[in-house]
């Protein structure tokens, strides 16, 4: 320590040195920590998607010993109702399970022989022994009380029931043995099977309610049509169901055939007959039920196979019919003895004896299954999809708590082709919000991943050649005085906000390109060709002329020619178009239009906002990045190497090709990868110019939907903690992983190239 003062280091220098080294360490570590935290946070939002449904028993209540036909429940699960052939029994869960009942009105003391309940429309249909039918509307409402509990106002559920007058359906006073009814805004349909002298009839009546100018629906029902569909049916009818839009009736018979009647132009008529289990060993239909939205019907047979039939157009010009779409459901021994559907999503609950399964139609997955210690006779899922009510063989009501926040989410819905409702074939589709509440959620990640890769591919296709060639030219051929102008200019280009590029692309470039595709093709072909021809021609000039031009300044001669070629090619576009791209329209006229030729002669779609526009715009955003980094690495190739090559008699191009590019290849590669990384995550440009349709084709004249675009557009619509919210986080995670993989692979390749070409 006793060194002469002049050799001692000042305390301040030591302090700054140790402070800075710690400060930098902390800074670096916190960056890594921040990235990891983001990953953990995203992961935390995504993981609940994979959780299975949780069901736990809440309470068991003894019910009166009556023959329960159907179970109804209000949205809040406070007042379940049990429908028998005579009355409705109510259990007030808010009031010590007090049981009350309301009787159905009878007509001339004729007993009710058939009863049906539709949970979605809360409609009871009654049929009596004289062939008369009556509709009963159940009505639940909330009345708020002046009491508060845990800061929330307490409420009371009020149940009311309004029965419509009986209506003579069967003229011959035949007994109603099966009945179904449903209603839409203004139409009610009642379908019933009557039996007299062992003769079955299928009778349908449509009822209209008049709606006044203010949209008030009057109480009076008028018979619109009375139809007899008996002639279409062969065999004894086992069950009738009616869609919740009151536009479709399905019946199946003991011959295991299904007959479908559908509304077409306001009239209901026979549509189709099919045998659901035609290709199965066990052809006997055990159950037939609509799912929420009534687009899909689930059938089961006694061996426990489940099949889903959806209504769709097999081809453009055919009417909508039922077709087999779901075949991979889990089995349930004996088939669905008891069936109930969710009113929120495509879940359905099936049980047979003690065995119970909660399945999801879209993913064809089982979300919950169990073997209970009682035989299930009736089941219902509450409107909020948070309670399951089961009635067992001893007339005990079992209330179970259901927690299944993300039934739609599964590996299959995210990554496999799914046969969605209404689609003619299994597809990868994204549509988080359908037109209606009933629409099936389409949450495939594949079109988004594909769209991301497609946008990136076309952007790179456009950007990489231009950026790399420009970098080579600037670093190896252009005189230094020009280089000092070009390089900062390109860097300024990199700082252009992408929203401006996207905006210009969408509003100016897209409409212009649509009219000028042949011109663009001609320019793309002719400019490089012209440059190539000029380059070769130049090398054949005698040195005497060539050396008149300073090396690197040749572009002064080339540029005007290239501009001329561009202008000529651009203006030749319409000529090319008239030669090759004409279509004949329906009136036999020839129409010169590339976009119509593309779609009509080749059968591909042409949209104004397409991959080419995205390629140009995103390429424009990526070019400066690739250019700058590639130019740096090309310029950093040691002068000694280029000198060595030139001194051996190599031309500038030979030097560039054989020495400079290989030596700089690691840098050029990472330039491309950084550009790729930018393109993968780019949002604003695709938001403006990609169209946003989740298609899965490489067609350059078609749009796409990328992960980033999807996040940006749907984030405001996603309810917190909801399935869409978490799915968007999942998309973000995929984007994260995608860029992580690209960067890691790129870094490995870069290190490999660098080791191969490292210079002394």
């Amino acid at each position: 320590m006793d060194q002469p003062e002049k050799y001692q280091i000042s305390k301040w220098t030591l302090f700054v040195d140790s402070f800075m080294s710690k400060f930098i360490t902390v800074g670096g570590l916190s960056v890594i920590a921040a990235v990891l935290l983001i990953l953990i946070f995203i992961g935390k939002e995504v993981i609940p998607l994979l959780e299975e449904a949780k069901v736990s028993p809440l309470e068991t209540i003894d019910l009166p010993k009556v023959d329960i036909e159907h179970v109804a429940v209000d949205e809040w699960t406070t007042l379940p109702a049990f429908i028998t052939k005579n009355s409705v029994y109510l259990v007030n869960l808010q009031k010590n399970n007090e049981i009350s009942s309301k009787q159905f009105e009878l007509e001339n003391n004729s007993p009710i022989t058939a009863v049906n309940y539709d949970q979605e429309r809360q409609l009871v249909a009654l049929g009596n022994s004289k062939g008369h039918v009556s509709l009963v509307e159940l009505n639940y409402s909330q009345e708020f009380l002046d009491k508060y509990e845990n800061g929330r106002q307490k409420s009371k559920t009020i149940f009311t029931m309004s029965q419509k007058p009986y209506l003579a359906l069967a003229e011959d006073e035949a007994k109603v043995i099966k009945i179904a009814a449903n209603q839409s805004e203004s139409t009610k349909i009642v379908a019933a099977v009557t039996e007299k002298n062992n003769q079955q009839q299928l009778l349908v009546v449509t009822l209209k309610q008049s709606v006044d100018l203010f949209g008030n629906v009057s109480d009076d029902l008028t018979v619109d049509e009375k139809l007899n569909f008996t002639e279409y049916i062969t065999g004894k009818i086992q069950k009738i169901i009616i869609s919740s839009q009151a536009d479709s009736i399905l019946v199946y018979t003991d011959k295991n055939e299904v007959f479908s009647f559908r509304t077409k132009n306001g009239k209901i008529g026979f549509s189709q007959k099919f045998e659901p289990f035609k290709d199965e060993a066990d052809k006997e239909i055990a159950s037939m039920n609509y799912l929420f939205g009534s687009s899909t019907v689930i059938f089961s047979n006694k061996t426990g196979r489940f099949l889903g039939f959806s209504i769709y157009k097999p081809s453009e010009d055919m009417p909508r019919v039922f077709g087999l779409t779901k075949t991979t459901f889990d089995d349930l021994d004996g088939g669905a003895e008891v069936f109930s559907r969710s009113l929120r999503n495509k879940s359905f609950l099936v049980s047979n004896g003690k065995r119970i399964k909660l399945m999801y139609s879209t993913s064809e997955s089982v979300n919950w299954e169990d073997t209970l210690d009682y035989d299930i006779k009736h089941s219902i899922i509450s409107g909020k999809y948070d309670r399951i009510l089961l009635v067992d063989d001893k007339n005990k009501l079992n209330i179970l708590k259901l927690s299944d926040p993300h039934p739609e989410a599964s590996v299959k819905t995210y990554f496999s082709k799914v046969w969605y409702e209404g689609q003619p074939e299994p597809k990868y589709l994204w549509s988080s919000t359908g037109g209606t509440e009933e629409a099936e959620k389409q949450l495939s990640m594949m079109p988004l991943i594909f769209g991301t890769l497609k946008a990136t591919f076309y952007a790179m296709l456009f950007a990489v050649p231009i950026a790399i060639l420009a970098a080579i030219y600037t670093s190896q051929f252009l005189p230094d005085s020009w280089k000092t102008i070009i390089k900062p200019l390109m860097e300024v280009m990199a700082s252009l906000p992408s929203v401006i590029i996207g905006f210009l692309a969408a509003l100016i470039l897209a409409p212009m390109v649509e009219a000028k595709v042949p011109s663009i093709i001609l320019v793309i072909v002719s400019v490089p060709l012209a440059a190539f021809i000029m380059g070769s021609a130049w090398s054949y000039l005698p040195p005497k002329i060539r050396y008149k031009c300073t090396e690197g300044m040749e572009f002064v001669f080339f540029a005007p020619i290239l501009i001329l070629v561009t202008v000529v090619a651009w203006n030749m576009g319409p000529v090319l178009e008239s030669w090759f791209f004409t279509v004949v329209d329906s009136q036999g006229r020839e129409i010169i239009s590339f976009s119509r030729w593309w779609s009509e002669s080749l059968g591909y779609e042409y949209t104004q906002k397409n991959a080419m526009i995205v390629g140009f715009a995103m390429g424009f955003a990526v070019i400066p990045i690739i250019f700058t980094i590639a130019e740096d690495s090309l310029s950093n190739v040691p002068k000694s190497l280029t000198s060595a090559s030139l001194a051996l008699g190599a031309s500038r191009w030979q030097t560039t090709w054989r020495v400079v590019i290989p030596t700089a290849s690691a840098g050029i590669f990472s330039a491309c990868m950084i550009g790729l990384g930018r393109a993968v995550g780019e949002t604003m440009i695709v938001l403006c110019a990609a169209g946003g349709t989740g298609l899965m084709e490489m067609n350059i004249f078609n749009g796409m939907r990328t992960l980033s675009l999807n996040l940006a557009t749907e984030l405001p619509e996603a309810a917190k903690q909801g399935t869409l919210y978490r799915t968007l986080f999942f998309g973000a995670l995929i984007l994260f992983v995608l860029t992580f993989i690209i960067n890691t692979v790129a870094e490995i390749i870069r290190q490999h190239i660098r080791n191969k070409y490292k210079t002394v």
Partner: protein
């Protein structure tokens, strides 16, 4: 390509026609002035360099000796804003003849640089680089050229088993000899050496000097060096430059024993430099 044909023939005949004695001057520099922009770095240089001899350029840093060397194969063309007066001719042909392609000039005049600069390629590819860019594809011609050049640069025994290995794995001296092999592989007439040993240790330097001696049989060599001992060891003639002027140019023995000029004497006796 006649160029290529001639080259191939030349290599196959093992440069036999280079054996004919040629006493007359090969490189002729006349009234040569040279400028980097406005700055003149060479003033009225006149000298003859005879064939199959070794000529050293010596002088303090910044005296213009390297500039002159680099003008013999016009490597200075790569610098922005250079110009010259006077002429340099090789075998009577002017370096600045408008009909002359600078590429053919450089094939004729090989060059070895101060810092060894092998390409980041294999040893083999380094040696055949000059031939490849001239368009030679014939495998046997290339193989033959590699062996001949590496033997000529005393490197063959050391690397013959690892021709496919990266040249960057060689030692400093080996790399410099590889650069010499690369320069002679395409059969130049003249080899320019710009301080070829300045980055090497004494043993490697000795090997290079032996090699230069051997090469004299077939090539005309111009070498720029900072080491007067090296100049006196290897060269037949020595030129002393000072501030862009050629002060003295004579046989090496004579220049070092009885310099005519005061400046030369001061320099070689270590009074400045």
């Amino acid at each position: 390509m006649t160029d290529k044909a001639i080259l191939e023939e030349k290599i196959m005949s093992k440069a036999s026609d280079n054996d004919s004695p040629q006493e007359n001057s090969l490189i002729n520099i006349q009234n040569y002035d040279f400028f980097y922009g406005d700055k003149q770095v060479l003033f009225d240089v006149n000298m003859d360099i005879p064939a199959k001899q070794i000529v050293s350029f010596i002088g303090p840093s910044g005296c213009g000796k390297s500039t002159l060397l680099r003008n013999i194969n016009r490597m200075n063309d790569l610098v922005d804003g250079v110009h010259h007066n006077g002429d340099i001719t090789i075998n009577g042909q002017s370096n600045y003849d408008p009909h002359l392609d600078v590429i053919s000039l450089r094939r004729r005049v090989g060059m070895v640089f101060q810092k060894s600069n092998p390409f980041p390629k294999s040893i083999y590819e380094n040696v055949v680089y000059g031939l490849r860019i001239a368009g030679v594809k014939n495998r046997s011609v290339l193989d033959e050229a590699v062996e001949r050049s590496l033997r000529a640069s005393f490197l063959w025994e050391e690397v013959k088993d690892r021709l496919k290995d990266s040249a960057l794995g060689l030692s400093g001296g080996q790399m410099q000899r590889l650069c010499i092999a690369r320069a002679i592989a395409s059969g130049p007439e003249i080899i320019l050496m710009d301080e070829p040993c300045s980055a090497l240790d004494p043993i490697a330097t000795l090997k290079i000097e032996e090699l230069i001696h051997e090469l004299k049989k077939n090539y005309t060599i111009v070498i720029v060096t900072h080491s007067m001992q090296q100049a006196s060891r290897v060269s037949d003639k020595t030129a002393f430059f000072y501030l862009g002027e050629l002060i003295e140019y004579s046989d090496t023995d004579q220049l070092f024993s009885t310099p005519k000029e005061k400046k030369t004497e001061d320099y070689i006796s270590g009074r400045f430099g």
